[in-house]
Amino acid sequence: MINYFPEEVLWHVFSFLTSHPDRNAASLVCKSWYNVERFSRGKVFIGNCYAISPERMISRFPRVRSLTLKGKPHFADFNLIPQDWGGNVYPWIVAMAKGSTNLEELRLKRMVVSDESLELLAKSFPNFKSLVLVSCEGFTTDGLAAIASNCRFLRELDLQENEVEDRRGQWLSCFPDSCTSLSSLNFACLKGEVNVAALERLVARCRNLKSLRLNHAVPPDALQKILAQAPQLVDLGADSFVHDPESETYNKLKNVMQKCSSIRSLSGFLDVNARCLPSIYPICINLTSLNLSYAPGIYSKELVKLIHKCKKLQRLWILDTIGDKGLGVVASTCKELQELRVFPSDLHVVGNVAVTEEGLVAISAGCPNLNSLLYFCQQMTNAALITVAKNCPNFIRFRLCTLNPTIPDAVTMQPLDEGFGAIVQSCKGLKRLSVSGLLTDQVFLYIGMYAEQLEMLSIAFAGDSDKGMLYVLNGCKKLKKLEIRDSPFGNMALLADTGKYETMRSLWMSSCGVTFGGCKTLAEKMPRLNVEIINEGDEMEGRPDDRQKVEKMYLYRTLVGPRKDAPDFVWTL
């Protein structure tokens, strides 16, 4: 019956398929569906840029308009991967330019982006509308100038946490007077000066501007003038805030804030005098998202006063200086909270007792809608985790990080196996989990048994034996990404089920027990995996012994074999 549907009908039906898993599933049904789907797919998501080549992507999806690419493995964030590892976007842009792709949107995470790439991007795609760069590096403000000058229909330029070299140019002034289409501009991560007058004019003519995140080079009186021009803003990031509550700038800012009734999301405050916070009280009542995690200058009392006014908060990113008591205030005020991230303010383990299990328990009791957590804490207990699991069964993301990586239950001195076990048992929709603290193989038994929807698991300094890793590999059917460091898992676990890795995006293992011999065996058995070893220093002179332990291994499934851009220190076995 289905074979007789004309293609137009299939087209129409597929236009309702937006999620990638759904489209991927549809394309597997039959040849006809595969073809209709591939010509109708506009948004392509590639979780590992080395899993496929740009040319093959374009030939399969010729009508791609939006491309999302991820490069380096997650642990690159924590300095575990040397510079020049790879993840360069240039080949992708070249291929799409050659293929006359009608690219409108490019979203990159953990990739290397050169100015040359940005220039080619800016000049090759006349309908280009949206550039989102997250945790990328390799470009300067010259590249941004190229984007600003050439992308006539640019709607979104969103730079999040990138390492950008500031060339002190006038990139902002490169937006021509005819550019009025911007709806989102985020340059908070840039270190250098911007042409404030050009910024003010740009904001004034972009009437659709909804999201604006400024860097700390934009002074407070400019901020106030900008806000006066853009009362329609929904999302505001301001790093440089006013310092003096008695100044005229402060008064102007206070007045203009009262008119910004559309603001729902606030971030920045790198540089704030807490006495000036009352200027934002008028918008607090409407805030759904607040990011104060870069604002060390706000002390508990002022923070609590601020939180008290944010009754509609759904997302809160904060430093652990808020303390357990402060989290108690969040719990009693922010009943609609869904996502909480508590970052460490002091990286030394022996520091102030910042937040503990008490804060987390309070949050779980007060905020039943909590589904996403990142919590850096001084200590934790099984009892607390069991309570949290009972109070909040809706976790999709649960990442707990004890500042001391192998700390046991603070009360019983037992491993934290039971606590995490309770989390995975209760939270049936859990997709992402990071565990820490003293943990034995038992916790992995629980994870393998209960975490049926788990897609990403991060393990550090945990487990006793290969059994731990095997429980996870055998149990978690939907596992996509597994990253492990400093844990006693070796060849036995690695080689037990080699076919598993083709069902996953990637596996990272560093400072574990796997050896060269083990990795070589795996690479020989599985030609559609790239097994990469990262060698640093001089222990890798000549051919290493098969029995030698591998410092860092990254393996991933791929359709295109070993990558050609691997640097000297990366060996593909």
């Binding site: 946490e161 008695e246 383990v349 022996v350």
Partner: protein, 178 residues
């Protein structure tokens, strides 16, 4: 297995910093040291003397570099000279919250008052930035200042006469009309 080398036997219980009423606190501290020193012989990624682990806690490098108070251990000591004083002092910019805090501390260091205040002070604070230029303190946001300041000088206002500087009260606002 790697168990011994990594020292992850569960017999080793790691005490909380500051102890938790544990009678064998001192022994556990020794054991804690042993764990880390075992690491330093096996793993090149750990430094035993600082009890630090590479990449732990897992905070992304952007956040590490940009969260000011996380620069523990990177003290920002700069020299401070005052015109007429026989010797210089040093001040740690990383532990100051802002300009008003800095100026108060400078006053305490040199025993004079109202540095930077318009009429009452005979002194003006200036600093040398990364480019080697001498700048008036207070023009840029604190973060930017503390990162680019190489040294401070408390200059006699008389020496600055004729340049047309009118610095308003530093303790309150940051507005300079040059």
């Amino acid at each position: 297995m790697a168990k011994d080398g990594l020292g992850l036997e569960t017999e080793l219980t790691l005490a909380l910093p500051g102890g938790g009423g544990d009678p064998s606190g001192s022994m556990e501290k020794k054991e804690k040291k042993r764990v880390f020193s075992e690491f330093s012989s096996d793993e090149t990624t750990m430094t035993a003397n600082k009890n630090e682990v590479v990449g732990w806690p897992p905070v992304c490098s952007y956040r590490r570099k940009n969260s000011f108070s996380m620069e523990e251990g990177t003290k920002m000591y700069v020299k401070v000279s005052m015109d007429g004083a026989p010797f210089l002092r040093k001040i740690d910019l990383s532990t100051r919250e802002g300009y008003s805090c800095l100026l108060m501390d400078l006053e305490k260091l040199f025993g004079c008052y109202g540095i930077g205040e318009e009429d009452s002070s005979e002194y003006v604070p200036i600093y040398e930035d990364k480019d080697g230029d001498w700048m008036l303190v207070g023009d840029v946001p604190w973060q930017m200042f503390s990162r680019s300041c190489k040294r401070l000088r408390i200059m006699k206002r008389l020496d600055a006469k004729g340049i047309g500087l009118h610095a308003k009260d530093f303790h309150k606002g940051i507005s300079i009309e040059a």
